[in-house]
């Protein structure tokens, strides 16, 4: 294991190797394709059940179908629902001009028409958020006990028997994922089902997803698949499709869990351009060193000079 500049920032090909594993499986991850998410929340439920997560209380948030709100110590998958006006695409808009649908009963079976002609000037975005398992993980970098560690799969996991609840990881995460559990005092987050991975199974959320919006696999394969999916969507006229978190040159060295989004990240509650705080560790310590030297110099100099004794 060698510690280099790349250990803290920038692209890093072999995260597990950098963490000290000499032999290890391929890095795995999630590709969450939100264009096929139907908002069923099976991922939220499967995660809760498999990981035995406590409930978060019954809370109606008044935000579309989202009553989970955000990722937390007890919710490791969170499905966001965004209702927004969407300009009609050319062909559908043309048809719209001919006839106005008054929503009256018709002879068609309900749901019989599911093609382009059924589109309205309104759309729903749904997206299942999760821990990003960053290449450079802010939470892992700042953990002072070693409770957070990099697994052989390249994921980031908290050891609950080590964590002493200092809370530093909570402020270290640029995505606002990890949190301390009330009444328990320790930090919790998605483990990418470390126990299932060790037995060669896919994580519970991906297993439960009925539309394959959540895809699990080797990260390199997922990145390739995601690029093809974006190209396909662009061909079909969905020009707003974009990837989020797949770029190893971004502020966290690329995410182990990345997304295909249909709007800007902040609309889904994601930071547009997160940066791991460790990027500036060197310059911060340098500034602290200058301040410390000035402090010491001041402390020495106040004992020199004229004395009124």
């Amino acid at each position: 294991m060698t510690v280099s500049r790349e250990s803290f920032y920038g692209p890093l090909d072999d995260v597990s190797g950098d963490a000290g594993y000499t032999e290890h499986p391929e890095r795995v991850g999630f590709f969450t394709d939100t264009s096929v998410c139907i908002g069923c929340k099976a991922c939220e439920v499967a995660c809760k059940e498999w990981n035995l997560l406590p409930d978060d209380g019954f809370d109606l948030l008044g935000m579309s179908f989202d009553n989970t709100g955000e990722l937390s110590a007890n919710s490791w998958r969170h499905v966001a629902f965004i209702e927004q006006p969407a300009p009609l695409r050319e062909s559908a808009a043309a048809r719209e001009a001919d006839a106005v649908d008054l929503g009256l009963p018709s002879f068609d079976l309900p749901g019989a028409g599911t093609g382009e002609e059924t589109r309205t000037d309104f759309r729903w975005l749904m997206s299942s958020d999760v821990c990003k398992h960053c290449t450079h993980a802010g939470c892992l970098d700042v953990c002072p006990t070693g409770a957070l560690f990099r697994t052989e799969f390249g994921t980031v996991v908290v050891q609950d028997d080590i964590c002493n609840g200092c809370g530093y990881c909570v402020s270290g995460c640029p995505y606002g994922v990890i949190d301390r559990r009330e009444g328990d005092g320790r930090a919790w987050k998605c483990t990418m089902c470390y126990d299932r991975l060790s037995d060669g199974m896919e994580p519970a959320c991906a297993k439960a997803c009925p539309t394959d919006s959540i895809q699990f696999g080797p990260l390199d394969e997922l990145r390739e698949r995601a690029r093809q999916r974006v190209a396909t969507l662009h061909e079909r006229g969905v020009t707003e499709a974009r990837l989020y978190g797949e770029d190893p040159n971004d502020g966290v060295g690329g995410d182990g869990a990345f997304f295909l989004l249909l709007d800007e990240p902040e609309v889904y509650g994601l930071p547009p351009d997160p940066v791991v705080p460790t990027r500036d560790a060197g310059s911060m310590w340098a500034r602290a060193g200058v301040a410390a030297a000035a402090f010491a110099a001041a402390a020495v100099s106040v004992f020199f000079g004229r004395s009124s004794r």
Binding site: G62, P144, S171, G176, E264, G269, P272, A288, A296, A298
Partner: protein
């Protein structure tokens, strides 16, 4: 306009409508992007107590070498008192306080909290021995353990004084090495605010606890620290772009404004404190309070900057739109 209505609309209608002059940005129902720090008042209280302890350790070593016994005694006890309360605050703030010693199972350069733990481990024993020498009853001083402590006091005090600048400054990195916008964006300036604040507090403590004829170094340290704190603290209000608003508004602003008044008053008072013990005590107390309020104010600005998605989204979106690399 109704802020909350604008925010609810943000989830579904695109650009959030704000009053003129405010930034336009989009968000998920106006909800926070980051988690608020889980730390409570104990952490800013620690920042203050740790800074106070560090500055006292410096004064104690200087007083020891320049033969100012009363300043030495006050400062050594101040250093130990500050350190002891620091330890209490740090451990009490843990979610699992009984596991505090898990901090000692690793030394991790990438974690300022781990670095700080080891700085305190290096700092603590010297402070303890130096203070023990002051507290030792006269009859014990003649026995061999008393003699040993007496002989070790000066090297112990000097050793802790050598580490003290680290104690006073590392806490700035502790806060800045996070995703909390108000702390992270202040990373270039926070070390100077913190060491200035520590020097002002330590100097103020020396002025309160020492007769004026021995307290000159404390007065000077207080004045230098207060001026540093005042100047660099102002920069947080003005030079951090969008994030400066977190320092300029609300509770953070009120705390830091009072800090400014008290620190400026204490610094002016320290000029008169060479003549009057009452002036020395008053300005010393003002400096201590000013330093404490500064820490609470900066802490509060950080908390606020995680509650409002603006502080996360606006600077990042601007960077993306300009095509700049993170």
């Amino acid at each position: 306009m109704s802020r909350s209505l604008g925010r609810v609309a943000a989830g579904d209608t695109g650009r959030e409508q704000r009053s003129p002059g405010e930034e336009d940005f989009r968000s998920y129902y106006g909800r926070r992007v980051l988690k608020e720090p889980v730390w409570e008042w104990l952490v800013p209280a620690y920042l203050f107590a740790g800074g106070l302890s560090a500055a006292c350790a410096e004064l104690a070593a200087g007083a020891d070498l320049t033969r100012r016994p009363r300043l030495r005694k006050a400062a050594r006890l101040g250093a130990l008192g500050g350190l002891a309360t620091s330890m209490y605050f740090l451990i009490a703030d843990l979610g699992r306080p009984e596991r505090f010693h898990h901090m000692l199972r690793v030394a991790k350069p990438s974690s300022p909290m781990s670095v700080g733990t080891w700085i305190l481990v290096a700092y603590g024993p010297g402070v303890g021995v130096a203070a023990a020498a002051e507290l030792l009853p006269a009859r014990l001083r003649r026995r061999w353990p008393g003699k040993l402590i007496g002989a070790l006091a000066r090297p112990a005090g000097l050793a802790s004084a050598a580490v003290a600048p680290g104690v006073a400054s590392y806490t700035a990195v502790l806060l800045s090495h996070t995703a909390v916008p108000a702390w992270n964006e202040a990373r270039d300036r926070l070390p100077f605010v913190f060491t200035g604040s520590a020097a002002a507090a330590g100097g103020g403590f020396g002025m309160v606890c020492t007769p004026v004829d021995e307290a000159e170094p404390a007065r000077k340290l207080a004045a230098v620290g207060a001026v540093t704190e005042l100047v660099t603290s102002r920069q947080l209000d003005e030079r951090l772009g969008v994030v400066s608003e977190a320092y300029r508004t609300g509770k953070a602003h009120r705390l830091r404004q009072w800090s400014e008044y008290l620190t400026a008053g204490g610094a002016l008072g320290s000029l008169l404190a060479g003549r009057s013990r009452a002036a020395a005590v008053t300005s010393g107390l003002a400096l201590l309070a000013g330093s404490a309020l500064q820490r609470f104010g900066i802490f509060e600005a950080g908390v606020q900057s995680t509650k409002d998605p603006k502080y996360v989204v606006v600077p990042q979106r601007r960077r993306v739109d300009r095509g700049e690399q993170a």
